[in-house]
């Protein structure tokens, strides 16, 4: 396969199947030597939460994750890259986000997956709101300093 791959970016309410998504990237191919997956799940915060509600900015969510994914494709020799982010009401234990990076060797796949997640957290237009165990809509989750710092690890990545 020659040329840059095209990232598969999906924003959806529906759940995803991690194994099926890996197969979609690797089936029938013999050039992939490494696949790294990251799945982000909803926690119940020690029983405090009954659900998370994810609001997103339709259109920009796809556009922004695609921009980050294309930057990853430009930086690492990838054979495939998938990013799926869900929105709507998500229950503890359920999937929120999936990133799959495939490459010939492991380092590129590890780094690209980590890079994509770091920027997705600080730049993709999604907002989480907590729903309490008693069913009431609660606070919006606050952005963390740690997430912002993580995105600065990749310091030579400047957008626009």
């Amino acid at each position: 396969m020659g040329g840059a791959i095209v990232p598969d970016v999906r924003i959806q309410a529906e759940d995803f199947d991690l194994a099926a998504e890996v197969s979609r990237l690797t089936d029938g191919r013999s050039d992939v030597g490494a696949v790294v997956t990251f799945a982000g799940l909803c926690r119940d915060e020690d029983g405090r939460l009954s659900a998370l509600e994810l609001e997103h900015y339709p259109g920009m969510a796809e556009a922004e994750i695609t921009r980050i994914a294309n930057e990853a494709v430009a930086r690492w020799p990838l054979k495939g890259l998938t990013a799926i982010h869900r929105y709507g009401r998500i229950l503890p234990g359920d999937n929120i986000v999936l990133v799959i990076a495939a490459s010939s060797h492991r380092q590129a796949a590890f780094e690209a997956a980590s890079f994509l997640m770091d920027f997705l957290k600080t730049r993709a237009p999604f907002w989480k709101r907590e729903h309490g165990a008693d069913g009431t809509a609660g606070n919006w989750v606050e952005a963390t300093e740690a997430d912002e710092k993580s995105s600065h690890r990749w310091s030579d990545f400047t957008q626009r």
């Binding site: 982000g40 994810l54 609001e55 997103h56 900015y57 259109g59 920009m60 556009a63 922004e64 982010h85 929120i96 986000v97 997640m117 997705l120 957290k121 600080t122 730049r123 993709a124 237009p125 999604f126 907002w127 989480k128 709101r129 919006w140 989750v141 606050e142 952005a143 997430d147 957008q159 626009r160």
Partner: protein, 83 residues
Amino acid sequence: MKLKYFAWVRERIGKAEEDIDLPEGVVSVRDLLVWLRARDDGYSEALRHPEAIRVAINQTHVDHREPVAGAREIALFPPMTGG
């Protein structure tokens, strides 16, 4: 131009989107935030700390110095918490 609001910015302002005519003298994103803040209590509450508000013009992140002239769609929202 169309303004869009998300998460607690949307809740405090009390609407998800609206169309506005840009007033004279509103040049940058920063000017827009200052002008909106003076409209009523909801805007004032939503934009009390303008430096905390993230802004996208035509679905691309911009900083507060960005000119707003000619923008089709401007979105205001809190720092993102996806992933």
